[in-house]
């Protein structure tokens, strides 16, 4: 590797350095606030290193990574979302005793894995990045180990993620056996749909197995069974991380991989993806309808949102890549804000995710209720929020590629989605007797995250042009 390579890798190197620094700090002396501060400083330094890397982009660093504008945008999204999760985690764990510092260490590990995923252009980097992310997440999900439901969620995620990694590896092996390379660009160069039926079967089987692994991570129907339980069992900041960073990174990778590979496999593969997208939109929205836990409701809604994103992924036109990038940014903001509201309201013993605990919230904590309303409206895709603009771009990308029946499904299921988002909003504004009368004071770091995400949400919803122009320049 040469010096230009190191400069291009600077964000990853800074992040690894921060990982070491946080670990040393914990070894020297445990201090919750200081650990959180050092974590944030490390993430900020990594974000500051992004322009340095961007000046050298696009560049291929060894066979494994491709640092380009597309990857760097997603890296920025991952780093900022991780910083928000760290702030929420500080608010969440502040009143705990016991070991809280490892949370930040695991969070940085997971962020590094996600950053590797978004710039990987080789199956090896893909798998290693995904495993770093998964292994850190097992421990993060089960972090409050005095809570039975967290441990249960951690075990559930561990078993299913390990199983899906097996599918992923077998898919990679079949593709390698057929194409003789693990490199994404070399796979693209290897040519179109294979001539013989046998190689076609090998390639399609490999891609389908790959899709099982990716579908598990994205919680697409029918690989979604873990989502609700893990979302509910994990501590709220970790749920925010699973919902945002882990999914964003895998979507970024899927798009980078499919752009060359999907076309080679012919129409069959696109049809599989389209069925998954439709099933996720329908299944996610219908399952969310009758949930009494806000965390489970958001879990099912995130399944539906990944279905919407797949419509843009399938579109594969010139508008598709910026549409996916914008949608993931808007989705990340809204999910961070939603789980942030739950995180700042949770106490040491219970997660504040029961729907009835939100009744009359507006009259007790009007600001919190307003923030949550904005987030839910954005998830529902109401105008003036980022979610609306994102959905608009997804639909227009789909329309350019004539994916009419998927767009019709998207519009119809969004209408269903509106019902359960508004149900939560109506609960917050209802004047029925509130369950707990003493509102918890919101910790400053949590309030900071909520304020910034609300401002960004509305700013992106009203003036999306600067970001859209930036994305169009960055898309490959």
């Amino acid at each position: 590797m040469q010096s230009a390579d190191y400069m291009a890798l600077l964000p990853l190197l800074v992040l690894s350095g921060a990982l070491g620094a946080v670990m040393l700090l914990i070894a020297i002396g445990r201090h919750h606030g200081l650990t959180a501060l050092l974590t944030l400083a490390g993430l900020a330094a990594a974000v500051a290193a992004l322009p340095v890397a961007a000046a050298r982009a696009p560049i291929r660093v060894t066979a494994l990574l491709t640092i380009d504008g597309y990857g760097l945008f997603f890296m920025a999204l991952v780093l900022l979302a991780t910083a928000a999760v760290a702030l929420l985690g500080y608010a969440y764990f502040r009143s705990w005793s016991g070991h809280r510092e490892e949370f930040y260490l695991l969070l940085l590990c997971a962020a590094l894995g996600a950053c590797v995923l978004v710039v990987s252009s080789h199956f090896t980097a893909f798998f290693v990045g995904l495993e770093i992310l998964s292994i850190a997440l097992y421990a993060l999900i089960a972090y409050p180990r005095h809570r039975a439901e967290s441990l249960e969620a951690g075990i559930k995620y561990l078993v299913l993620a390990a199983g899906s990694a097996g599918f992923l590896l077998f898919g990679m092996a079949l593709i390698y056996a057929e194409r003789g390379t693990l490199d994404f660009t070399a796979l693209a160069a290897a040519g179109g749909v294979p001539a013989t039926l046998q190689s076609q079967v090998m390639l399609l089987t490999g891609l389908s197995l790959l899709l099982v692994g990716v579908g598990f991570k994205l919680a697409l129907v029918p690989f979604h069974m873990w989502t609700a339980d893990v979302y509910q069992g994990a501590p709220a900041p970790v749920t925010a991380f699973v919902a945002t960073v882990s999914k964003t990174a895998v979507v970024a990778l899927l798009l980078r991989l499919l752009a060359p590979m999907g076309a080679q496999s012919g129409a069959a593969f696109s049809q599989i993806l389209a069925v998954l997208a439709a099933a996720s939109m329908v299944g996610g929205n219908l399952l969310a309808l009758r949930q009494q836990s806000v965390k489970r409701l958001l879990a099912y809604s995130s399944i539906a949102h990944l279905g919407y994103v797949l419509v843009a992924v399938l579109a594969a036109g010139p508008a598709a890549v910026p549409a996916v990038m914008f949608y993931m940014a808007a989705y990340t903001l809204a999910q961070l804000g939603s789980f942030g509201v739950i995180a700042v309201r949770s106490s040491r013993l219970t997660e504040a995710d029961a729907l009835e605990s939100f009744s009359g919230l507006f009259f007790r904590q009007p600001w919190l209720a307003t923030v949550f309303t904005a987030m839910l409206l954005s998830l529902a895709g109401i105008p003036l929020t980022a979610g609306f603009v994102g959905k608009f771009y997804v639909i227009s990308a789909g329309a350019q590629n004539h994916l009419w029946w998927l767009i019709i499904t998207l519009v119809l299921t969004s209408g269903v989605g509106l019902f359960y988002y508004l149900r939560v909003v109506v609960t917050m504004f209802s004047t029925s007797v509130p369950v707990d009368l003493t509102p918890r004071p919101v910790v400053f770091s949590g309030a900071l995250v909520l304020t910034i995400s609300t401002v960004l949400l509305i700013w992106l919803g009203t003036a999306p042009e600067p970001l859209v122009r930036l994305l169009q320049n960055m898309a490959p």
Binding site: T62, W96, G113, R147
Partner: protein, 169 residues
């Protein structure tokens, strides 16, 4: 050569099935070792002796022996001797022993020269693997260390002895 490969693969599948159906952890681990040995033999028959050796040393050797010892040591006590005698009744070791004997017979058959050597373009030795790992794949090696760190920190946090009233202020 194909027959030998499929025989080893069948042993691997059979042993793995027995791993997940055994009720006793030590018995399951014995089958798991056989399953890993069978996978190693499959590697060897495909012309990858180095991968086969690694499989034996790392998985069947170090990790599994550690597993067996830890599981056995977990229930120490006065009745541990009786317990161990119970674990090693013939019914427990005959199955894994037979499967391992099949693998041994295959290995002797191949090494004895009764079978044609594996048709492989070039045997990949430790030198080539090392050059690849610390050449084009050096970043993967570095990232694997982060992966191990995440596993270590997570295991430390989850397995630490429980204190009173943890998570409470």
């Amino acid at each position: 050569m194909n027959t030998l490969f499929y025989l080893a693969a069948a042993v691997a599948i059979l042993a793995t099935l027995l791993v997940i159906t055994r009720a006793h952890a030590v018995h399951a681990l014995l089958y798991l070792i056989v399953s890993l040995l069978a996978a190693a033999l499959a590697f060897f028959l495909l012309g990858a002796p180095f991968a086969a050796a690694l499989e034996v040393i790392v998985y069947a050797g170090a990790i599994m022996v550690l597993f067996v010892f830890v599981v056995m040591m977990l229930n120490l006590g006065t009745h541990s001797v009786r317990g161990e005698r119970q674990w090693l009744r013939p019914a427990a070791w005959v199955g894994p022993g037979l499967l391992a004997a099949v693998l041994l017979a295959e290995l002797v058959y191949v090494l004895g020269g009764w079978s044609a050597p594996a048709t492989t373009p070039a045997a990949i030795g430790p030198r080539e693997v090392g050059l690849a790992l610390f050449g084009p794949y050096v970043l993967a090696v570095e990232l694997a260390s982060v992966m191990l760190l995440a596993g270590l920190v997570g295991a430390y946090h989850l397995a630490r002895p429980q204190k009173e009233a943890e998570g409470e202020a």
